[in-house]
C-alpha cells in the first residue's frame, strides 16, 4: 500500500484571507479518507488545489510520486484525479449521455470509436442508476440524480483518486444509504481511492478509514474516526461554530 497523493505545506489565500494554511496530508492507495471541518475551514479550497482549479502559493502536491502542483485541471484529471462539486455542476444544457461522454472524451484517447464511447457511457449511467435518462437534459434531473450524473462523469475519466465534495448533502436518509452503497461499490469493485468532504457525521465516521480535520485553513487533527470524535480540539472547533 503506497502513497497515492501527498501534499506538503499547502497555502492558498484570497485577498487578505488565508483559506488553506501550511497543510500537510497524504492518502494511501485504496483508502477512503474523510475531510471534515466547520464552514469556511478551507475544505473545498483544498479540493480545488488538488484538482488544479487553483494553484497554491506555497507547498507542493505530488500524485503517484509525480509533482502536479502547477498542472492544469485537465492534465490532473488525465493523470487520474476526478472530482464532484459541492454545488453540483453537470452541463445543464446537455443530455445525460453527453455529460458522461465528456468524461470519456476527457481521457484524451483518440483510439476509441464514437460507438464504443456511447456504449461505455450507457453502462456508466446504468451503474449510477440513471438508465432511461440518456436523452434527458441534465437540467431536468432531481438533485440526487444530478449528483449521480456528476459521479458518472467523474468515473468516466477512469480516475484512480476520486474527490467527492458533499455528495450526501441535501439527501434524505434512504438516499444517503443508496449513495453510501454506491461509494462502497466504487471502492471495492473499481479499486479507487476516495477522498471525501462530508457534513453528515454519522455516515463519514462509519465509512471512512481515516479522517482529516481542518479548521480555519489549518489541519488540526488526523486519525481514525474514533480518535477524531473524541479530540478536544475538534470538539472545540465544532462548538465554536454552533456558538456563532
Amino acid at each position: 500500500m503506497g502513497v497515492i497523493i501527498e501534499g506538503k505545506g499547502l497555502t492558498k489565500s484570497f485577498g487578505g484571507l488565508t483559506a488553506v494554511k501550511k497543510v500537510d496530508f497524504h492518502l494511501n492507495k485504496g483508502e477512503i479518507v474523510g475531510l471534515i471541518g466547520p464552514n469556511g475551514a478551507g475544505k473545498t479550497t483544498l479540493f480545488n488545489l488538488m484538482s488544479g482549479v487553483y494553484h497554491p502559493e506555497e507547498g507542493t502536491l505530488s500524485f503517484n510520486g509525480m509533482e502536479i502542483t502547477s498542472l492544469k485541471s485537465f492534465e490532473i484529471c488525465r493523470l487520474g484525479i476526478a472530482r464532484t462539486f459541492q454545488i453540483v455542476r453537470p452541463f445543464l444544457k446537455m443530455s445525460c449521455l453527453e455529460n458522461v461522454l465528456i468524461g470519456i472524451i476527457g481521457r484524451g484517447d483518440p483510439r476509441e470509436g464514437i460507438k464504443a464511447k456511447g456504449e461505455e457511457a450507457r453502462k456508466l449511467l446504468k451503474f449510477v442508476s440513471l438508465e432511461g435518462h440518456e436523452k434527458n437534459s441534465a437540467n431536468n434531473l432531481t438533485l440526487i440524480e444530478k449528483k449521480r450524473l456528476e459521479m458518472a462523469r467523474a468515473l468516466a475519466t477512469q480516475p484512480r483518486l476520486l474527490l467527492l465534495d458533499e455528495v450526501l448533502a441535501g439527501l434524505n436518509p434512504s438516499e444517503i444509504l443508496q449513495a453510501l452503497e454506491l461509494i462502497e461499490v466504487i471502492r471495492t469493485q473499481l479499486k479507487m481511492t476516495i477522498f471525501w468532504i462530508e457534513h453528515v457525521m454519522g455516515a463519514i465516521m462509519k465509512a471512512s478509514d481515516r479522517i482529516i480535520v481542518l479548521d480555519q485553513g489549518e489541519k488540526i487533527k488526523e486519525g481514525r474516526p474514533e480518535e477524531v470524535v473524541n479530540d478536544s480540539k475538534v470538539i472545540e472547533a465544532y462548538l465554536g461554530e454552533s456558538d456563532a
Binding site: F14, G15, L17, Y54, H55
Partner: protein, 287 residues
C-alpha cells in the same frame, strides 16, 4: 531639441488625457468584469450635452459641465439597471450587449446631434510660449491640470472612502464582501454610474480641445481599451502609467517613424503585452 521637448510634452499631456478617458473602463472592468464598449459613446454624449447646455440653452459653462457629467451618470445607472445587471455571470452577453449598445448610441447621436463636429466654448484661448522653445495651446494645458485633478479625486475616492472600500472588497472576492455586509448590487450600480460619469468627465474636459462627432466615439473606446490592457485590468495606477506610455509612444512614433501609422503603435504594444505580460503592468496575475 525643442522639437523633441515638444513631442514629449504633448506625449505627457495626451497621456494624461488617455488616462482620464480610460479610467472609467478600468474601474468597471475591475469591479464587475464587464467591458463597457459604449464608453466612447458616453464620452461623445457628454461633449454634446456640454455644448448644447452652454451654447443652445445658455447655461454657464461652469454649471453645464457638472450637469452633463451628472446626466451621463444617470444614463450609466439606467444602463446598469436595465441592460447590464441581468448579464452578471454571463460574460458573453455583457460583451454583446455593450457592443450593440455602442452602435445604437453612435447612431442615436448622429440622429440627435447631426453629423457636424461640435465643441463647447473654450475656457481659455491662445497658446503659451514655453521656455521660449515652442508654443503650446492654453486650453490643453488647462485641461491637463483639470484631468490630473479628476484623477487625484478618483484615487482619493477609491482609497479613502466607504464606497471605495466596498468596491475593492467586491473586486477581490464577491462572496466574502457579501459576508461582511456589502450590498454588491448597489455597489455595482454606483460603480457603473461612476465609470460612466468618468467617461462623461473626459468628454466634458476634452471636447473643447477635440470637438466631438458621432463617428469619433470608437477611437476613444479603442484607446481606452489599449490603456486598460497595458496597465492591467482594474488597476487605476496602471491606467495612468499605461496612458502615459501610449501618449508618449504615439507622439515619438509619429515624429520619428511614421505619422500615418501613429495609431498602430498602441496596438503593437497591446500584442506585446499579451505575449509577455498578459495581466498588464500593474494587474494582478490571477491564480
Amino acid at each position: 531639441m525643442s522639437e523633441l521637448l515638444m513631442y514629449l510634452t504633448n506625449g505627457i499631456v495626451i497621456g494624461v488625457i488617455n488616462a482620464i478617458s480610460a479610467i472609467g473602463v478600468s474601474l468597471i472592468v475591475g469591479i464587475m468584469k464587464v467591458v463597457n464598449f459604449a464608453h466612447g459613446e458616453l464620452y461623445i454624449f457628454a461633449g454634446y450635452f456640454s455644448y448644447h447646455l452652454s451654447v443652445s440653452l445658455g447655461v454657464p459653462p461652469l454649471l453645464a459641465m457638472p450637469l452633463s457629467i451628472f446626466l451621463i451618470f444617470l444614463i450609466g445607472i439606467g444602463m446598469e439597471r436595465t441592460l447590464i445587471r441581468p448579464t452578471y455571470g454571463d460574460e458573453m452577453y455583457s460583451l454583446i450587449i455593450t457592443f450593440v449598445l455602442s452602435i445604437v448610441l453612435q447612431n442615436a447621436a448622429l440622429l440627435i446631434f447631426g453629423p457636424y463636429p461640435q465643441k463647447p466654448p473654450n475656457w481659455v484661448t491662445g497658446a503659451m510660449n514655453i521656455f521660449g522653445l515652442y508654443h503650446y495651446g492654453n486650453q490643453r494645458i488647462l485641461s491637463f491640470f483639470i484631468s490630473i485633478g479628476v484623477l487625484l479625486s478618483i484615487f482619493y475616492l477609491i482609497k479613502r472612502t466607504w464606497f471605495g472600500k466596498s468596491i475593492r472588497a467586491i473586486s477581490q472576492d464577491r462572496e466574502m464582501a457579501a459576508l461582511v455586509g456589502v450590498d454588491h448590487l448597489k455597489v455595482n450600480m454606483l460603480a457603473f454610474g461612476l465609470g460612466a460619469a468618468l467617461a462623461g468627465a473626459a468628454g466634458v474636459v476634452l471636447s473643447p480641445i477635440f470637438p466631438v462627432t458621432p463617428s469619433g466615439s470608437s477611437s476613444v473606446s479603442l484607446n481606452a481599451f489599449i490603456v486598460v490592457v497595458l496597465g492591467g485590468m482594474g488597476s487605476l495606477k496602471g491606467c495612468v502609467v499605461g496612458g502615459l506610455i501610449l501618449g508618449i509612444l504615439e507622439n515619438l512614433g509619429a515624429a520619428y517613424i511614421s505619422t500615418m501609422y501613429r495609431h498602430i503603435f498602441g496596438f503593437i504594444i497591446l500584442i506585446l503585452v499579451l505575449v509577455f505580460r498578459p495581466w498588464g503592468l500593474f494587474g494582478q496575475k490571477t491564480q
